[in-house]
């Protein structure tokens, strides 16, 4: 167990925003048990942009789902700020996601019948929250969607759609944003734009971001990369560059 736990980088001031301890997730697949997570301890600090990497089936998506309250771990705890989210009921989890977490998915991120603006404002509407127009304008300008706000997703390019999703995730200033392969479906130029937005927002807006990816280039935009294999954290790199990440990844898969 000790081998799989990685000491978090000590942060100068605040306690970590997200803390996971001893997370396990076991699936029963017709008699045989599959350990998607086999005891994970991990912390994420405020304003940090962290990438979770690992080969296919290493459990990185499961880890993110458990951290975000989308999935329930078999054992272990997850705290978001002072709230322990493991053990919360569905209704409470829904409120938690609504008010304190932002999401960016690989694809199918937007509702096709809503315009770009409506999609961005949707979480606020669900929560009946007043929109901070200043922040809205700032984010729209940063992601460059000003002249696309009235368009339906079908009329937007893949990169533009993902920018809408980023704007939606950032608008509420959630405590943490989870991004699941945000550039998986994009060409490299659009992908680079999205990753830059994420990194900038972590720096400028002090936004905590956790990103799952298998792309070393994408991971290199993060401040820190943690590596997962067979449901355990096995390695960690700070201030990564693509070559370093690729090398570590290759080592894991070997």
């Amino acid at each position: 167990m000790t081998a799989s736990s990685v000491q978090p980088v000590p942060s100068a001031t605040a306690p970590p925003v997200v803390v996971a301890r001893g997370l396990t997730k076991t699936y029963d697949t017709g008699g045989s048990q599959v350990h998607a997570l086999a005891g994970v301890d991990v912390d994420f600090h405020r304003g940090a942009f962290t990438a979770i990497m690992g080969p296919s089936g290493s459990g990185k998506s499961t880890l993110m789902h458990c951290l975000a309250g989308l999935d329930v771990p078999t054992s272990g705890t997850v705290h978001l700020g002072r709230t322990q989210i493991t053990g919360l009921r569905d209704g409470e989890l829904t409120l938690l996601r609504r008010d304190r977490i932002g999401f960016i998915f690989q694809s199918f991120n937007l509702l096709p019948m809503l315009t770009a603006e409506q999609n961005i404002l949707l979480p606020s509407q669900i929560a009946r929250r007043k929109v901070d127009r200043q922040r809205f304008d700032h984010i729209i300008d940063v992601v460059g969607l000003r002249d696309r706000l009235g368009h339906l997703p079908a009329k937007l390019s893949g990169g533009q759609q993902q920018r809408v999703a980023v704007a939606r995730a950032l608008l509420n200033a959630p405590e943490v944003v989870y991004a699941d392969e945000p550039t998986g479906n994009l060409d490299s130029r659009s992908g680079a734009e999205i990753l830059s937005f994420l990194r900038d927002s972590a720096e400028d807006l002090d936004q905590t971001i956790v990103m799952v990816t298998h792309d070393p280039v994408a991971a290199s935009y993060a401040d820190r990369v943690v590596f997962l294999r067979d449901g355990r954290l096995v390695d960690e790199v700070t201030d990564p560059d693509p070559e370093l990440v690729s090398a570590r990844l290759l080592k894991l898969e070997a």
Partner: protein
Amino acid sequence: MLRTTLAGLRLHTSRYVTTVLAILLGVMFVSGTMVFADTLNANYEESVMGSAGSVDAIATPAEAETGEDGAHAGPEPLTADDLAGIRALPEVAEADGLVRGQAVLLDADGRALGFTPPAAVSIEGASRFDAGRGELPSTGDEIALATSTAEQSGFGVGDTVTVLGPDREEHEFEVTGLVNFGVDPSFGISGAVVFAPDTVEEMTGATGYSEIDAIAAEGYTDEQVADAVSGVLGSSADVSTGEEYGLEMAEGVGAQTEIFRVALLLFAFIAMFVAGIVIYNTFAILIAQRQRELALLRCVGAKRSQVFRSVLLESAVVGLVASALGVLAGVGIGVAGAALAAPAMGADGGVPVVVTQAAVLTGLGVGTVVTVLSAMVPALRATRVAPLAALRTSTTASGIEKGTGWFRVVFGLVTFAVAGGLVALTQISGPTQMGLVVVTAAALVSFTGVVVLGPLLVRWIVRLVGLPLRRVGVASMLAVDNSVRSPRRAATAMIALTVGATLITGYSVVSASTESTLNRMLEEQFPVDYQITPQFSMEEPTGAQDASTAEGGDDAASAPGEGADAVADTGTPEFGFVPEQVRRDLEDEPSVGAVFGQRGGYVEDEEHGLISLVAFTGARMGVDLAMGTVEGDLSDAGPGRIALVEGHADGVRVGDTYTLANGDAVVDLEVAAIVEPGAQVFHGYLHEDDLAALFPDVTRDEAVLVRGAQDADPAELREAVYGAVEDDPTLQVMSVAEIKEQFSDIMDIAFYTITAMLGLAIVIAVFGISNTMALSVLERTRESALLRALGLARGQLRRMLSVEAVLLCLIGAGIGIVLGVVFGWAAAASVLPGLVFSLPAGQIAVFIAVAVLAGLLASILPGRRAAGTSITGALASE
């Protein structure tokens, strides 16, 4: 390919559940109707054959020549000599006659029972009737009642009943038994009492036999007996074997069940039509969702025709399975229906179920064929899927349909214009027989318009209704957006509901308007409170006077022409009348404001045809009795003047001279007014003096109309009216309030029956909407997961679907209500002159409430499925 199809079916069974239910319900209706009608028919046949088959020959007096107007001279009854002759035949073991007259039976309140007195007969020895319970009467103070009469009067075995003799004197009898006359139409309406053989002649004055039944001696067949009897009676009687007689009667009642069957099948047709729409929509959606799967099939080498056949085969399997289930359910419903309805329809006893091959095959055939036909267009669409579609990313989820073409808009608007023109045409031309046909055609045309414009209508209405809904909350905002995502799909689902809503609303408008129209006619033309008429006699006098019975046609309480004492004065036909004393008594009552008499007669000549004439004695025309006039003034009608009903005026104008002749009596009258044709069947209104000149025999009132004094206490008035008729129990008293109530009851029963029949079409449509929702939810699984991830609560997700379903139902019902109101009005106005349009607001409010409820119900299962899906699972699966 076959294996692929069947494997696909097995995999997607759950998607077909509601479709199967829709087909099942439709087929159930078809098969159920067949089983019900067949069973009822068999039951009738059995009861008829059972009674008629118990004797070998039945002789009835030959009908005299039938008159032109359908009236017939009473047949000459068979005599005692005839009976003696039959009894003497070697072929006959036993023969007896049935004496038939009629007698007034008093109910528990001492008033005559029914509008017509029951038939009074004797039954003895050889007869096709027998006591079902108790004993047949054997002495002069015993009586048996027909089961229908017993039911109507509430009397049973052991009770003492009062029957009026030929001179209206009261006789008491003890009920000893009940006789079931079954469906024999000659006893159907009036009911019957059974006396001992001698008593019947005493009580009714009837002589001779209306029927002689004979039983064969040993060794002779029924045909031999019938031939022998026929030989004795000659042309004075119709003789048939018991079996022939029964078959003939069964045919008569069978015709009733056939009408019933056709009416029910009409509703079944509507249900199947709606089911067809639902099936079409289901397959259309399934094909759209399976685009990639179909494209993959094409990629691996399936030909277009194979894809087409695969889809059709799928529909055939679904249709056949659902129809088989439907037939089973239909047999159940038919049996239950027959068991429940048989007693009410005159068939009794245990109901043996009749499931004919035709019922089963029709159900299976109709269900399967409708399913396959409905799937035809989606199957064709499936063949157009390009193989390349397999390689593209999923197109279904992003599926926002393209806009609607101009062609659709123009075509739709043209249909509305045509329908509007047709309706306008019927309104201008006034009530004609073609009117209803034209209105129906207009309704069909505009329905086509709704189908064509459906997607646009949905979009427009949602846009309008959506404005306030968006403000309510995020769930309804999303619902509004969702409901216009695939307007074509939504429109088809909604149109299934529109069919039922249109028909029900249309009928309710017709019903309410008819009621209010007739009520107003009653109020305007007969501003009276009570009507007193003699009991209607079945023993009709001969001649043209018969036609006066038609008066009862439109207004149940109008004076029937024949008198209660026609039986007493056998031979001389005479109008029934209300005794003068009754009128005089009423005039003396302080609570009575006015009393009018009604008397009338018929004139038939070559120039005018048959003309019914009426005079209201003691009434001022245009003041006491009002009518809409086309020309002239009704209050000008007085002695020497006549008011003619439009349509019978034959070009005669106000001021012209109108000559009427009845035998020697000839009267020249000046036309004072032409009045609108109302609900009445009279053709001309005369002054009583002119009527007396024309019909010297008519000196008494065939009905008395009573109007209460102003501010009279209704209870006092009622007491006065009933007091006046106390001495004559055969007089029928009807209050106008009662007439209205009775009429209203009849209309209500018809409305509820029709609504129940159409209800099934509504249920099927709701299944369709539920199915559309469920399939949409399936399509939007990832979307739902995304919404949940973004913080939408399960309840909100369910509410979103509820609002969407309710919106769909409301639009469907709303369009149906609008169409129903318009065409219901048009239909009623094209038939009823002077229609008083009445909007059944209460009923329409109920329809709307039902639509909301239906939407909520339709969204339950899809909502559960959407809310129950795991977020991570849905997000992960591509």
